[in-house]
Amino acid sequence: MKPGPFIHSGFTTQRLMFITTLAMIPMVAASIWENGFDAMILYVVSILSVFCMEFICQRRVIFEYSALITAVLLVLMLPANAPWWISVVGAILAVGIGKYFFGGFGQNIFNPAVLSRVLLMALFPAIFIMPEWTVDGVSGATLLSKEIGASMPSLSSLLLSSSPGSLAQAMPITVLLGGVILLVYKLIDWRVPLFYLATISLLSILLPGSEKILGHVPYLLGNPLLHIIAGGSLLTSFFLLTDPVSSPFSSNGRVVYAIIAGVFTMIIRYYTPYPDGAAFGVLLANAMVPTIDKYMLKLEASVF
């Protein structure tokens, strides 16, 4: 039997997760800068809870960057004014259901942080509630659902200034910066953000929006820039959708997967009361991964 190669590229899971963690620092810093102590509490509680959950599930003290990433992503998807205990519940859902229910790291079909966020949304809708459906509040809503008058914000103000919504939206340019780091280090497949964002832009123009739902924000219809930068699209395209464990194996499969996520995201944004379909889009695309993998392998085998 051949012993296998004696040398290795040096690119290990550890390294991948470490650089991903570094790439998230700008986003985290911006969200704390913008939202102050409240945001800080959310991060600290979330990280502590995730590691406690890991300890409970594995029965030994571990430090894994993947767990840290889940904890931070979870908070990045929460509204800034979320109560601290939501981090605890989120951590329990992400680690307990998202990760270990499916058999642990590497076996999870869904991105644990996204699954947790969607479950939180179902369990505590009030925290994620949209302003149009409340009388006065605008907090907790993303730009996509907020009425900001008739004028469309400029590109630079979109990139630099926060839009109310999840913490990741504190300063969209930091998300972009993180994404560029991931791309430069080749940690993620460029096809995923490219095809995801392209699908969103294209559909935002092509899809006939439902006036009934979008009537109050008419400029949202056919405005690709807003759809890409505002809402969770950037975070989704670089950090959530690209999670290798829950995305397809082959590069062609990943193209299909990104397009599917984009389609779901836009359908949810245009035709349901949820203003940000990104999390649902990821989850639905995750669910299709086994099918995509199977089909792509067959297709590639027949070409080969």
Partner: protein, 379 residues
Amino acid sequence: MKIPKLKNQLHSPIQRIRLPDSIQLQINGCIPLVITGDVVAAGSLIAKSATVGNIERSIHSPFNGRVTSVSHSTVDIEGDWPNAQTSAAHYEATGIEADKIRESCRMAGIVGMGGAMTPTHLKLIPHRPIDTVLVNICESEPFLTCDHRVLEEYPHEIECGLKLAMTAVGAENGLVAPKINNYTSGYERFLVEETLGRKVPVNRRPTDVGVLVLNLQTVRALYHAVFEQRPLTERVITVDGDAIKRPGNYLVPIGTKVGHILECCGWDENISKQIIIGGPMMGDSADKNTPITAGTGGVLALTSEQTAKVKDNPCIRCGLCMDACPLGLWPGQMDRNPSADLLACITCGACQFVCPAQRPIVKNIQKAKNAYLQKSDSL
């Protein structure tokens, strides 16, 4: 992600290694023709394969010496290297008709020096029409530069050897394949496709499309056999790795033990983590007593920083192994869903080299392959 080249010794001229006092010849499958205590001369026949006729392999002594032990798989000889290389006494100079070339090749005990070690005279029988002989100089394994040096320093011998091979199989064209900058292009099927544009179907050999692929040092050995009446008793290897103080390309007698080579090249035992014979991708681990065979391209002593650590972390489904596989297989998952794909794997190791989870993919595949073969046998 590319496999690194690490060709540090590209410009080190071939040197003859200090001659060892004793050697061990591997004679697996051959019958020893000597007994302990026999006195042998350099170039004399030591062992021969049982099968008569065409399928014959012969092994010669590089030494004037004394046989110190004989087993069914090894012969140990102790002795002196001859001052001048004496020609073998047991066969005559031959002309250059096809039959005679094959005969010389058979008598000289030439085998494929790329690692497979199939007797070369068998390859020189054209069972199918062959129009092109291709000398493989890809040397795709990282670190190894011995073939490159041989071509650089003995181009004439390679050219003559190639002509002999062409005569033997009746081929009109001969080609020393250009270097291709890709680890997996050294694989014969791809080499033929890339250099000649002929696609070799899966599970077929280049000879099926009229091409005979030979290793560079095999071709040189063919030249030695025919024009110098010299049996195959030595070869050029690359010695490298950070635990080696005097790396380089060395001419060594076949049968030399790794320990002797390490000693001659300034081995630093304290920092040496892994000794390898062959290349770092497809070679084997070795110790000081492992002898060099005709198919050994190098001896490497790697430090712990250079050596891969196998960790068997959970697969993160990154797909890098699939992108790296020259055959487009699904290396990380193949062992879990056994299929005929397993048989196509050439154990090149590219998948494991790139796997961030540092999984022992090659081992898993081989295990699954054996299980798969057993299952299909019992059906």
